[in-house]
Each structure stands twice: as C-alpha cells, then as structure tokens.
Symmetry: C2
Subunit: 360 residues, 2 copies
DNA sequence: AGCTGCATAGAAAACGTTAACTATGCTGCC
DNA sequence: GGCAGCATAGTTAACGTTTTCTATGCAGCT
C-alpha cells in the first residue's frame, strides 16, 4: 500500500500538491488556490475544510509553479558584492535585507571576489532567476570596455523584463542606461579628509589605494589630489601605493614603506580596515600613532572607534545606502513609460577623532 | 506593428521564451532545450542556428519553469542568521557562499533579528522556495517547547521533500530528527578560557552573557561555571549579567557595574565585540586593561587583534563551519534510506594575547 | 533487398499553480 | 412567476520548461 497523493505517479516525493489538498478537502483546486490567495469569495465551510486539509497534509505551496502561473517576477532581490566579510558591505546588506524583508521580499546574495567577469555572470544568473531587482554594491574595477558594454546590455534586458539594476556606491554606466544609481561622494569626502590632514601641517601623505582601476580608489584618490593641488602641494606619485582594501594589505604596504625609510608624516588609508593594518605595522616598527605617524581611514565602520587611538575617518551611511537601494528596487516607478534612471548622491562627512597630530 | 514573439498574447513583456527561440531558429522547442542542456545529440547545423538565435534574441531561460518541469529542488541554499553585521556570522556566510558558488548553487539569505518566530517563518518560506538546503547559523533562544516542536516538523517536511536542515553553531533538535548538526565546543572553550583566568589568579570574574535563554550563552556560561567549580571557586550569581552580543551591550553593562563599584578583577565577555564595549567602558572610567581589569572575549574575529591591548579569546573556525555546512548540504547523502542525521563537533582553542594580567 | 541500429528530429504530456470563463443556486424585486 | 444579480463553485487554458515517446532517414550488414 503506497501512500501516494491524488496527483498520481510522480517523479520524486515532493510533498503534497494543491490538488492533493483539494481532493482531501473535497473541493476543486481553484477553491484551494482562492483560500490561499484570499482574493475571491469562499464559503466559511469550504474555507475551513481547506485550511484543515492544509494543516493535516502539511502542505506548502510551490513557489516556482506559482511564479510561473502568475507570470509576475518573483519578489526576490538579488544583492551582489565583492565579499560579505567587509563591514561596510555588511552594513549595506543589512539595510537591503531589512527593507526587503519588511515588504515580503527575499534576498538572494552573491559574491564576486571583485572579479568583473564573475559579476557579469552573477547578474546574468539573477536575471534567469527572474529577480525583481539586482543590486550591485561597491566599486567596480573598470577594466575593458567590454565589461561596461555587457553590463549595459544586462541593465537593458533586466529593465525590459520589468526588473531593475541598482548600482550602489559606484558610478553610473552612462546616459540613457535604465539603471538606478546611488552614490556617496567619495571625491568630496577624500577632499575634506586630506584637507584636514593638510590643515594640520602634513605635506607628505602616503595614500593607500585599492586596486589600480577600482572606481572607489580612483574617486578617493582624485579628491585627495585635488586637495593637494588646492593647498599648493606638489604631486608626489611615489606616495601612492596600490593594494587591496584589507587589513593585510594595509599592514604589508605600510611595513614595506616604513622599513624602506619613513619619508611621510601621515597615511591616508583607503579604508578603515586598511588603517587597522597601518596601525599594526606602525606599532611593530615602534612608531606610535599619532605622535610619530598620523593615520586616517575611510568609511567609519565600528572598528574605527575601537582602534587606539580612535581613527579619524569619513563617515559613509552604508546602511542608508542599502535601505535606499532596496526602496528604489521595490518602488516600481522604473516601470513608468518615460523613466530614464534614478540618481542619488549621499553626502559624507569627516569624523575627527585622535589619530592625527599637528606636525611640528 | 507590435514586436510580439511567437508565443502569442502574453501578460507582461517577459522577454523571449524558448518557443520564440525555436521559431526563430526553425526547430522545435525540444531541440532548443537539448542544445541548452547538452544532454542529447543535436546536429551541428541545428545547434549553431539555435545558439545564434539565443544570442540574437538575447534569450534567458526561466528558472521557475525549469525547476517546475525538472521536478528537482532548485540548487539554492538558504542561509538564515540573526544579523549579517556580526563578523563571526559574516565569516560563516562567506564559507557557505564560497562553497555553494563553487558548485553552481545560489545562496538565499534571511535575517531573524534573533526572534525565534521569525526564524520559523523564514524556514517555512525557504521550504516554499524549494531550497535545496536550509542552513541555520548561530545560537537559538530556546523559548517555549512549541518552537522546538515546530522546527522539528519543518526538519521533517524539508527532509521528506529531499531537502535538508543544517543547524550550525547550535544544539541538535533531538534524536531522530533528520537534520545535520555542526557545532563548535562552546562549553569546553569557555572552560579553557576561564581556567586561564583562574590560573592567573583571578577569582572574581564578571561574566557578560547574551540573551537569557540563548544556547550559546548557556553553553559558554556552563563551561565557565564548571571551571569555577573545578578550581573550588564558589558560585557568585551576582557576577553574571545578561545582555546582547553587541558592543553597545558590553559597554553599558560594564559601565553600570563599574560605577556601582568595581568588585571584580576580570571580565569574560560573551563575544569579542562585547569585549570591545568593555574596553570602551573601562577606558572611560580611567581603568586600563589589563593592569586594572583583565578582559577576555570569544570568537577570535579580526577585531581581537586590533583592540589594544590585543584580546585574549577563543578561536572559533567560523568560515570552516560555514564551508562544512554547505558541503553537507550539497552532499546528498541525507537522501540515503537509513540516514538519521549528521553531527560534527569542531574544536576550539584559547588564543592568549595581552588582555589578561596576573592578579597580585 | 530487407533488416538492425544509430543519429537526429518533433509531438505531446507532464510539472503545480493562477485566472479567466462558465455554471449553479439563491435572494429579492417588479 | 420570471428574471436580474450575487455569492459560490468548478473547468480549463495558460505559464515555459523538460522529458518521455515516437517518428524518420540513412548507413552497414547479411
């Protein structure tokens, strides 16, 4: 005696179906569907029998069938970043997830390790999943033009399918590309931060950038350079080092520069965690921050308050960025006929703590 | 002139379908499917025409239809945790995502804010999504028996559907429940850590626990108490405070205790970030660590090395935990007839740094 | 010449829902 | 008493794939 449901021969044992519930409750499938959706009058008695059957059979709807029949894109938001472990990205992820969950959306997450190709593949994958929106967070390493072109194509096809590409913390793809863009002002943030350093008398500042062609790096470096220029400090290319936005990278770069001869009075770390690495290297060389070396970071993650001395940095509202991205994604205004693209620019501000000293 | 595909009247503009591609290439839908799946001989010419049509129409398969027709549970792994922002969880998430992505699985993420009810709802939701596996990470606040019973039900129905519930960093649900369990030994870790404190002469140790009925709290506290007993130190209930595993909680609790009278020589912070809060409160009160107050944490996240003095803590291999969870999830051995459940216990070890001093 | 067997193709039946149509009693009204 | 109108219910055609199950050539063999 087999315990098969009413749906006859079946590939695998995938739990009871809506038809099983209908049979068990003695009603038609349509009625069960109606009880579930609650969008059509159903008599009290039928409703109760159906609900009882659902409970007894431990029925759970098949989202795939539902999505297919309903035709609508699923209420799933894809969130793509380089690495979950970064505190700033985690903050943004939290903002996205909160906002999404509140509206009954699910969040699909994917990581790229910063490889553009992998990013493209993921967006493509998310499109196949019929994600209602795809949020890309963090800078891009803008390699070949091919990348930009492919991403533009994806933005178009996503938009054509009623979905939306949201670029968060990175520059727009270009005019007329149907994507929402949410940026924070890296250039001005870095400008303000370097200005602070300059105002304290620093003239030789080591800049620890991320990857060579990474948009965030480029923008922060641009702000830094502009401040230098405005203060009449000559450009010194040897004071810019490229690495990664990790603690290890900050440590190694600083250590190398320090052992090679300490020819700078301050370090502009591309990121707070990079600054943590700078602290470690400085301490190791017997240098104390800020007396022997001033250090600033960027992002203002929680860590900035736990470093000793507390880190002077630029506050970036990552959680707000994420929240806003999710709001735009669910807002549906991108389905309007004349929509061309959203663009928001978040302001940042310098948070002065105690990692910078006045140069004598 | 409308630009409709071959699939006739259609609800929304959801891009071209497989049928459209077939029509465009002059073959049957079956052939297109075969080219895509590459599981059946197709002539060179047909294959090429199909591939060309796919490119020209910018076709992308509908995952929902695919999942429905194929009958198999989708290769999606659900990952449920309290909060993405916790460093330890982020590490675990990274392990899961890495492992999943490597095998072509997608990761769905959901956060519970530590509310058991929300956790149940999420698992249920993931079941509806036909997730191939559901990974729960972090301790449980084991409230009413109802929770445990419902989760058991979910484990059963997940397993019946060919899916799997993986409990990671939390105790098993009970015997015979078809779920995989991956734990790290909180009890022994805490025992070792408190033993270290005791060996340094500390006798009055403030224990900063998490939520009252949180499994992680309970286990770590149990290890702590056992060490106390083994050293013949009398139990002092007033030295246990319950809060949250956050920096803010560590700060507030310590501050309150410190201003009320400093009657302990060491603090066992339930978590490294809690320890960061302890440091902050101690500094604020003019106490220096470890001279005036010894502090230990738990988890050994990156932060532990950035605190000054560096934090003595217990190393937990979170990334490994996540990786292992994902491996078990994809392994499929849980589909074997006699399978009753997996159980792994990860070892931890104390990492001695400089936040503990010998009591005079 | 007639078969067997293989490579390739298409037709059609699932998969588990939703939603647009129909169908059937009833109630209430002229 | 006939009929409009409403509250319910059931039928059935999608939705976009995959996967049998059937064709159809065509080579190779006896």
């Amino acid at each position: 005696m087999t315990d098969e449901g009413a749906s006859g021969r079946r590939r695998a044992s995938t739990g009871p179906t809506l038809a099983d519930v209908a049979a068990h409750a003695g009603v038609s499938p349509a009625t069960v569907s109606r009880v579930l959706a609650d969008n059509y009058p159903v008599s009290r008695s039928a409703r109760q029998r159906v609900q009882r059957s659902i409970r007894e059979l431990n029925y759970s709807a098949n989202t795939h069938a539902r999505a297919l029949a309903a035709g609508a894109g699923s209420k799933t938001m894809a969130f793509i970043l380089a690495d979950v472990r970064g505190q700033s990205f985690a903050d943004a992820a939290h903002g996205v997830e909160q906002e999404a969950a509140q509206r009954g959306w699910l969040t699909l997450i994917g990581t790229t390790q910063g490889v553009p190709q992998r990013e493209l593949a993921l967006v493509q994958l998310m499109r196949e999943q019929r994600a209602g929106a795809v949020i890309l967070i963090g800078g891009v390493t803008d390699g070949a033009d091919e990348y930009r072109q492919k991403m533009t194509e994806l933005a178009n096809s996503l938009h054509a399918a009623g979905s939306l590409l949201v670029l968060c913390g990175r520059p727009p793809l270009g005019d007329g590309v149907p994507a929402a863009v949410i940026e924070h002002d890296n250039e001005n943030g870095a400008y303000a931060l370097t200005s602070h350093l300059l105002s304290q008398g620093h003239r030789r500042i080591l800049f620890l950038a991320g990857a060579e062609r990474h948009s965030t790096s480029i923008e922060r470096l641009a702000g830094h350079r502009r401040a230098l220029t405005d203060f009449g400090v000559p450009d010194a290319p040897e004071l810019v080092e490229h690495g990664e936005f990790t603690r290890a990278s900050g440590y190694q770069l600083t250590r190398r520069r320090l052992t090679a001869g300490h020819d700078f009075t301050a370090v502009f770390a591309g990121t707070d965690v990079v600054a943590a690495g700078v602290y470690a290297a400085a301490n190791e060389q017997g240098l104390s921050v800020p007396e022997d070396l001033s250090v600033v970071g960027y992002d203002d993650v929680e860590l900035a308050q736990d470093l000793r001395p507390r880190l002077t940095t630029v506050h970036v509202p990552y959680e707000d960025l994420g929240r806003t991205a999710a709001q735009i994604a669910v807002a549906d205004q991108h389905l309007q006929p004349g929509w061309t693209g959203d663009h928001r620019l978040f302001k940042t501000h310098v948070v002065i703590r105690s990692s910078v000293s006045r140069v004598r």
